[in-house]
């Protein structure tokens, strides 16, 4: 049906993302919002997934640090053309970057996983057990 059509799925995803363009979920807690790399934050069940587009990095040039609720992503992006080439068009940007964000939830620092594939960085942040919402039974 509709949901199995990948293009339809993408449109729904694009519309869902549009709705959160001005989300205040992180409040003012990202340092230098608008900094590189741009981030999208998702929830997956109780957990948080931070996704960033950062094509052309080397895994060992990426530095991800976590302290408490703060995550820092730092690195440098370089582009090499080789010697003796003539440049016709240059649109890719290069430089250093460093970004940190404060999550509004408690995370389990030992279970954080990061993955860099096809130029996309994904950081999986499991929510700490003690921070998960509990349903209260009415006695």
């Amino acid at each position: 049906m509709l949901y199995s059509d990948p293009f339809e799925t993408l449109l729904q995803l694009q519309q869902a993302l549009d709705a959160f363009r001005s989300s205040s979920w992180l409040g003012t807690s990202t340092s230098g919002a608008g900094g590189f790399p741009p981030l999208n934050v998702f929830s997956k069940g109780d957990d948080i997934v931070v996704v960033a587009e950062a094509p052309g990095l080397k895994k060992d040039e990426l530095d991800i640090q976590v302290k408490g609720r703060t995550i820092q992503i730092a690195g440098a992006k370089t582009v090499t053309y080789g010697d003796g080439v003539s440049l016709h068009r240059r649109e890719r940007t290069v430089g250093r970057f460093s970004r940190s964000l404060n999550l509004p939830v408690e995370i389990d620092a030992d279970k954080i996983k990061a993955e860099y594939r096809d130029g996309v960085l994904a950081i999986f942040l499991p929510r700490a057990e003690q921070d998960k919402p509990r349903s209260i039974k009415i006695a």
Binding site: E8, W25, A33, A54, Y116
Partner: protein
Amino acid sequence: MAGQELEVQQKKEVASQQEKTIPARFYVPPTDIFETADALKIVMEVPGVPKEAVDVKVENELLSIEGRIETTNYNGLEPLYTEYPIGHFARSFTLPWQVDQQNITAHLEDGVLTLTLNKRPESKPRRIAIQ
């Protein structure tokens, strides 16, 4: 070059030269084009596009590149906060006559697609021997 602070490039949506028949939005990948002695190189950033989802076509001097992102990675994810749009990538270029259209190679690594457009032998610089 590498010392400066890296700025975010806003993604540019593809303006419809040829319109797409599917409803989703496409974006223009930032591209570098440079020339070496033997080839013209086109390097474009297509984060999130796996190797199998890149289409490179040449038709009537027009080189069209399309890269589709893997949407299944987003299954089960609910957005909380977003800073950039996601979508497939598309861009096309008119090829100069110097390019050998039968001899184009493509390589994708870490979201960076490199196309090597080899030049025709007759367009390479030649040394003329004096008789």
